[in-house]
Amino acid sequence: MRSKKQRTRVARQRLRTAREQWSQAAVHSWEPADPAECITKSFYSFENALSAALIATGRKETTRHYEKADLAAKLVADGILNTNIRKRLVELNDLRKDVQYGEPGAQLANTDLDDVVSELEAFLDEVESVIDDIEGK
């Protein structure tokens, strides 16, 4: 079992990856935008941030996307996070799958990339605060 120090170190590492992915997603949201790449990077960034919160609080991770979405809701129910990203994770996973099939569908064209990126940035800050609190900063 990991100590608190080990947990927060691994969580920070995961959060750094999430921030790097957010930064790339933000670039793809600029004109000329690349919606497919923006939503894919945002999806992985949200997931990594969520994993950082799970690790920092000593909770078990999962590799399955739909289970991650459920864990996102559980962290809110447990009072760890304020923002419930469950719906957003499921939505981004769907959009990502549309892209995977080939041509992106109308739903992707109608997605506000700025909204996704801003929401993601706020979530990353929220997870950072959770880690700070655990470290006693």
Partner: protein, 242 residues
């Protein structure tokens, strides 16, 4: 305990009930597609449905249910343009609800067209660059997933070019081996069943890139160039697949 077959039937049933409640379905069709339609689903497979309708309100009834909505005209346009997803659906899709639209699509001359394998190389290049980016940033699970998509696209391109119609992803492992591509078949198996190491990911990225360039050098270079130009316009350092 419910069997997976019972779960699939119940999920489809509640989706169609919801769809009928919210929409007039006189001209709609609901088609079961993907690995479940081929009876080749794995533990990680989603349940995929194609809905053919002009305007439709969709209610999500289960997380693992993935719905693709297209109009009849879009479906015919895609078939004519050589889209392999549309071609797959007309060959292997199982109609669950059809008020005539699906029958018209499968009877149309466009339904017999062979998909354009070059389209798959463009999709593969996009996913390969993503996999490479994610691997470099240390997110190996995400890199593995994107690489699985890239490898599937390349595998489909190879099979289509060899006049073999690609089935579902789990079945493609055998199809590729039988078509004389054991290496890409092995990579697809390793990625599908999560047995790939970090070094394996790097080697697989290099191999898939090599195969892509061999298949369609002009298409790969055109994609790389368009990506480079977009990044230069945003003053972001370019990334390459190494």
């Amino acid at each position: 305990m419910e069997s997976s077959e019972q779960t699939v039937t119940a999920t489809i049933g509640s989706f169609i009930d919801g769809l009928k409640k919210e929409n007039p379905l006189q001209e709609a069709a609901v088609i079961l597609v993907g690995s479940v339609a081929r009876n080749a689903a794995t533990a990680n497979s989603d349940l995929d449905l194609l809905v053919i309708a002009d305007r439709v309100q969709i209610t999500r009834v289960a997380d693992r249910l993935h719905i693709q909505v297209l109009t009849e005209a879009e479906m015919l346009r895609r078939l004519e343009a050589g889209d392999d997803f549309a071609a797959w659906c007309v060959r292997f899709g199982i109609p669950i609800v059809d008020s005539g639209a699906w029958n018209r699509i499968v009877s149309a001359p466009e339904a017999a067209s062979w998909p354009d394998w070059r389209q798959k190389t463009v999709h593969a290049a996009r996913r390969l660059v993503l996999a490479s980016d994610l691997s470099k940033s240390g997110d190996q699970p995400a890199a593995t997933e994107e690489l699985l998509y890239a490898t599937s696209h390349v595998g489909r391109a190879v099979l289509l070019k060899s006049q073999v119609f690609p089935l579902s992803r789990p079945e493609m492992i055998t199809q590729l081996k039988e078509a004389g591509y054991p290496h890409i078949s092995m990579i697809l198996a390793e990625l599908s069943f999560g047995q790939i190491t970090e070094q394996g990911i790097r080697q697989a990225i290099a191999y898939v890139k090599k195969l892509l360039v061999h298949l369609d050098r002009a298409g790969f270079e055109a994609y790389s160039q368009s990506r480079l130009t977009a990044r230069q316009r945003k003053s972001v350092p370019a990334t390459t697949v190494s």
